[in-house]
Amino acid sequence: MSERMTRPQIPLEEGVITPGSTCQGCGAAMAARLTFKVMGPNVIRHGIPCCPDQSSKSPSTGSVFEGGGPCLTGTARALKALGRTDIKAIAFFGDGGTYDIGFGGLMSAAQRNENVFVVTKDNEAYMNTGGQHSGGSPKYAETTTDAVGPNSRGSPVHKINAAFAFAAMNIPYIATASVAFPEDLMAKVKYAKDIEGFRILLIQSPCPVGWRYDPAKTIEVARSGVQSGIWPLYEIENGSSFKLNYKPKELKPITEYLKPQARFRHMTETEVNEIQVYTTAKWEKYLKADELKQIVF
């Protein structure tokens, strides 16, 4: 499990070239900046079609949506053949490339336990192309393909729990992080960097344009997501050991997370209650797993 990091330990040097071409207050840009601060220069970055967050100073390569996993596998095996264990193959994908289109490729890379590190910036829809529904879209969120009207109430399904889907593959390391907790995020990147095998980090990165809130509130929204239990911060090692990194004494009501975002504006009280019950029930399970220090299947 990752060790705690403090503010003075954060390196001053940047791993990305700023400014990028993201929107104002972009969560994904923050995620990229924090990740590559810790990763250092010896990485080969892989990308798939997604929002142009910060370009890193390390070499990078791009592929198609479905090609994320195979492309990473190729790089990792080539590095092994060359004997360059100091260079890491790292992916910086969006939620579409991890949760639905790219899922197959990544899943088989996980099954083969390739020596790659996948970082996902999860903004809960295909924001690059205008906010279409992805596997990461939460229930009742309005996207451009889940309209709100008499016959539709936004996204009809719950978000994919990708971390547990990968945990079922018994891979060495899985973690979730949020841009509102930079020390936690960077500690996890630092720990995952040197593990041998397939490891994945899911970062929730709010999108002011797609989630429709004031760009200044990016961190506020991300923080309330963690504090209300919508996006719990945890680590899973070898598919079983479990640790919850952030445990508030009491969860905040989810309205604090939903209210600033105009994509949830249409929700009725019953719908909010439904999400509250769903979130609390899940949180209880996480707490139990944390107590046992492992996931029981």
Binding site: I17, A216, E220
Partner: protein, 276 residues
């Protein structure tokens, strides 16, 4: 046929404005067409949109190359010659700026009108979305469009309370727009940074993206590094005396730093546009 070119930034509603103008002309019983031009534009990046209005059906489908009117939604782009380029002789430029029409560094056989649309938008909408705030001014200087049509079209796109706010902004700019003045300059000043791309990689400059910029009160600052670590663009440099300082070319003016400062030592102040 009259052709209109709109210059704006993503998030200012230039594309919506092009649709509103086309809809307003349609409400007046004419044929119209709105064309947005997208690249990889995001919120904050410069973009253009086009409108055609005619008494007969508009058959053309290509971009507008020599417009009669050019409307600029952004204060920084208003200081740039690109908004006056390739206009028809005697063409009209409507710029969003605090300066008077005579003071703008634009050149050519053009007429200029100005209005402080950002100020109007901040007053009526509380946000620097300047599209409807400039449409009222356009209805005044352009005889082809009526204010009634613009109001109808705004209601069509923003029904209810938001529509009322936008119409108030449009009416205010209808009152405040300056007279049309011929351009005095014969030659345009040379550009230092190309406005459209703003440079690439390490040379990229986004200083024109922001409407508000962070001003640090070093007396109040406790040196917690919150603003520095939460800045998406690494636009706050950590100086030797343990205080943050803004890197002008990197800051996009999102306001995250001011929002996250625990002692409120950072204030977002409206950027003063200076003449070159």
């Amino acid at each position: 046929m009259i052709e209109i070119r709109l210059h704006g930034r993503g998030g200012q509603g230039a594309v919506t404005a092009s649709r509103i103008i086309a809809a307003a002309a349609f409400e007046d019983g004419r044929y119209s067409q709105a064309i947005p031009m997208y690249g990889t534009e995001r919120r904050g990046a410069p973009l253009t949109a086009y409108v055609r209005i005619d008494n007969v059906r508009v058959r053309e489908r290509e971009l507008v190359h020599t417009p009669d009117y050019s409307i600029c939604f952004d204060e920084f782009i208003s200081m740039n010659q690109i908004i006056a380029n390739s206009l028809k002789p005697g063409g009209v430029v409507l710029a969003n700026t605090k300066f008077k029409a005579e003071e703008l560094p634009l050149a050519g056989d053009i007429k200029i009108a100005t209005v402080d649309a950002t100020g109007i938008a901040l007053k009526h909408l509380g946000r620097p979305i300047t599209n409807t705030a400039i449409l009222g001014a356009f209805a005044k200087i352009c005889p082809e469009i009526s204010m009634k049509g613009v109001e109808k079209a705004i209601y069509k796109y923003f029904p209810g309370r938001i529509g009322d706010m936008n119409i108030a902004a449009a009416r205010a700019s209808y009152e405040q727009v300056s007279e049309l003045v011929p351009a005095i300059n014969k030659e345009a000043p040379k550009e230092v940074v190309e406005i459209v791309s703003g440079g690439y990689g390490a040379l990229k400059d986004v200083s024109g993206w922001r409407v508000f910029e962070p001003v640090v009160d070093e007396e109040k600052c406790i040196g917690c590094k919150n603003c520095w670590i939460y800045c998406p663009e690494a636009a706050l440099e950590w100086t030797a005396n343990n205080k943050p300082a803004m890197i002008s070319r990197s800051c996009k003016g999102c306001g995250v730093c001011a929002n996250e400062c625990p002692v409120k030592a950072i204030e977002m102040k409206r950027v003063e546009v200076k003449k070159k």
